[in-house]
């Protein structure tokens, strides 16, 4: 299965999970409105949606972790290749040797080399077999193909390209650091938002809704709507936040699992209060 198709399949899981949940709710008599628009139902729906995004997040995380390692090792790979070429090895032998020394390249180089021995062309093997993923890796593999085709005229440029790759790797690391800082910021914001909501909704508004102040009276219906909105905002924030932070580093959804974990942690205080495991309003009233 192609990477693109697998990604599309994984992206369909959340929608399918919500439809399945609605179908189960209708079948068991709980009702679609109850599962989507009541606080108790919204908690379950939110957990299901966030769990359904996990496969996509984990896949992207694993994929880009692999690419990133290759990107960071690209400069070292080219230096090793250059050393072997200077030592007098033919290009493909030098390519194989360089792969032997750099662990992130070992498997892919070994696979390509086996196919070369079988008589296939380097460009064909690279076009068909090698996963490129990111722009620096596309550049690297295209450069290697041209090195193999053009030969000695280009060998002088290897050290130059090795230097360029190490600089590019530095820049990408700087963006990764920015992305990590943004992740921490978003996660803290999400968690503090959740705790604040629990306090606002279940201490202040709950008092208004149940005790009935003289000035303001809030109906249980309004209370429910606010709770549902806040629960879904936590989901929106954790899912879209995961994509946003990943985009800073130039990836699709690398930080989605991190934000989803934070989403689970943020939703749990809400769930505990809504399902009466913790009676916050009662506790405050007793003070």
């Amino acid at each position: 299965m192609k990477e693109k198709h697998l990604r599309m399949l994984l992206a369909l899981i959340p929608g399918t999970a919500v439809l399945a949940l609605i179908a189960v709710a209708v079948y068991t008599g709980y009702g679609a409105r109850n599962i989507l628009f009541t606080a108790r139902g919204a908690v379950i729906t939110s957990y299901v949606v966030m769990a359904a995004f996990l496969p996509l997040g984990l896949y992207e995380y694993a994929r880009f972790r692999y690419y990133r390692r290759m990107e960071h090792d690209a400069a070292r790979f080219l230096s090793t290749l250059e050393a072997s070429i200077i030592a007098g090895l033919p290009f493909f032998e030098a390519f194989y040797r360089a792969g032997e020394y750099i662990s992130s390249f070992r498997r892919v180089v070994s696979d390509v080399y086996k196919r070369l021995i079988m008589g296939e062309r380097f460009r064909d093997v690279v076009d068909r077999e090698v996963p490129r993923g990111t722009t620096p890796l596309k550049l690297l593999w295209e450069y290697l193909v041209l090195l193999s085709e053009v030969g000695e005229e280009l060998f002088a440029s290897i050290s130059e390209y090795s230097l360029f790759f190490s600089k590019i790797s530095e820049f990408r690391r700087a963006l990764e650091t920015a992305a990590r800082q943004a992740l921490v910021l978003m996660a803290l914001m999400l968690f503090s938002f959740s705790i604040m909501l629990v306090l606002v909704v279940h201490v202040f508004l709950y008092e208004m809704a149940t005790a009935g102040w003289e000035i303001i009276k809030i109906s249980p219906e309004v209370m429910n709507a606010i709770e549902v909105a806040f629960i879904y905002i936590i989901v929106v924030q954790s899912v879209l936040g995961g994509f946003t932070v990943s985009r800073i580093g130039g990836e699709r959804a690398y930080y989605l699992p991190h934000m989803l974990a934070m989403g689970f942690a943020s939703l749990t205080p809400f769930a505990l209060v809504i399902y009466d495991v913790v009676n916050l309003a009662g506790f405050v009233s007793s003070l």
Partner: protein, 242 residues
């Protein structure tokens, strides 16, 4: 999608949303619909207008911004292809494939029907005079002039890397500030709206209240802020390297 196509889509969407907002305003004014419901619908369509305008601006910025952020790769690819002896048009085609850049694809299309690079570039960039265009045209003109061009390209690549070095720090700080703002907007704006809305309901300011609509409104604002955040992060990081 070209800039003109994007602009025409934006205008069409704006007309539809303004039309719908006006429609609900008229119905509310003449009492066909409850005025509070009409007001909320008008508000929703105004938010939709704001959202499409923001997304359009981010998209346009991203189109040429991506060219700027990928300029270093364009230089490296171009140098590599010129060293290998490819023609400028072929080099542009290959780079457009690898980097998935629509601008380059369009320049190549003009070049294969007989236009010179300068003509093709003028047609594609139009009146745009940003830094990416200047860099790209310098690069292509140097490549066309052979060996001297290759040396120029090497120097220019080093200069560009040096410039990027300085820019990365600045953009990282800008990204963090932007994320901070969107996190505040995406979380605390809906919270404020919901609490004020609930208090107003309690005071009986709005006669008719639709809780599901209120929930969707809060959710919409949060979603809007984060959708814009994704575009913001994309356009900012693509300014540096992507």
């Amino acid at each position: 999608m070209s800039k003109e196509e994007l602009r025409s889509q934006l205008v069409a969407l704006l007309v539809v949303f303004f039309g719908l907002a006006g429609f609900f305003a008229v119905l509310g004014f003449f009492g066909v619909l409850p005025w509070s419901f009409s007001l909320m619908m008008v508000l929703t369509f105004m938010i939709c207008n704001l959202a499409v305008t923001l997304i359009y601006r981010a998209k346009v910025a991203e189109e040429f911004g991506a060219l700027g952020g990928r300029m270093i790769y364009i230089y490296l690819f171009m140098r590599m292809y010129f060293l290998a002896g490819l023609t400028p048009a072929d080099a542009i085609r290959k780079i457009a494939e690898h980097l998935d850049l629509e601008v380059l694809r369009r320049i190549y299309k003009y070049m294969i029907v007989g236009h010179s690079f300068t003509e093709a570039s003028n047609r594609v960039f139009g009146d745009y005079r940003g830094e990416p265009r200047m860099l790209f045209e310098n690069l292509m003109n140097s490549g066309v002039f052979g060996v001297g061009g290759l040396q120029y390209m090497k120097d220019a690549t080093n200069t560009l890397l040096h410039e990027l070095d300085k820019k990365v720090e600045k953009v990282s700080v800008e990204i963090l500030n932007g994320v901070q703002m969107l996190a505040v907007l995406g979380t605390f704006a809906p919270l404020t709206i919901a609490v004020i809305g609930a208090a107003l309901m309690g005071l009986g300011v709005f006669g008719i209240f639709n809780p599901v609509f209120m929930a969707l409104l809060c959710l919409g604002i949060s979603g809007l802020a984060f959708s814009y955040g994704i575009y913001y992060a994309m356009s900012k990081s693509s300014e540096v390297i992507s």
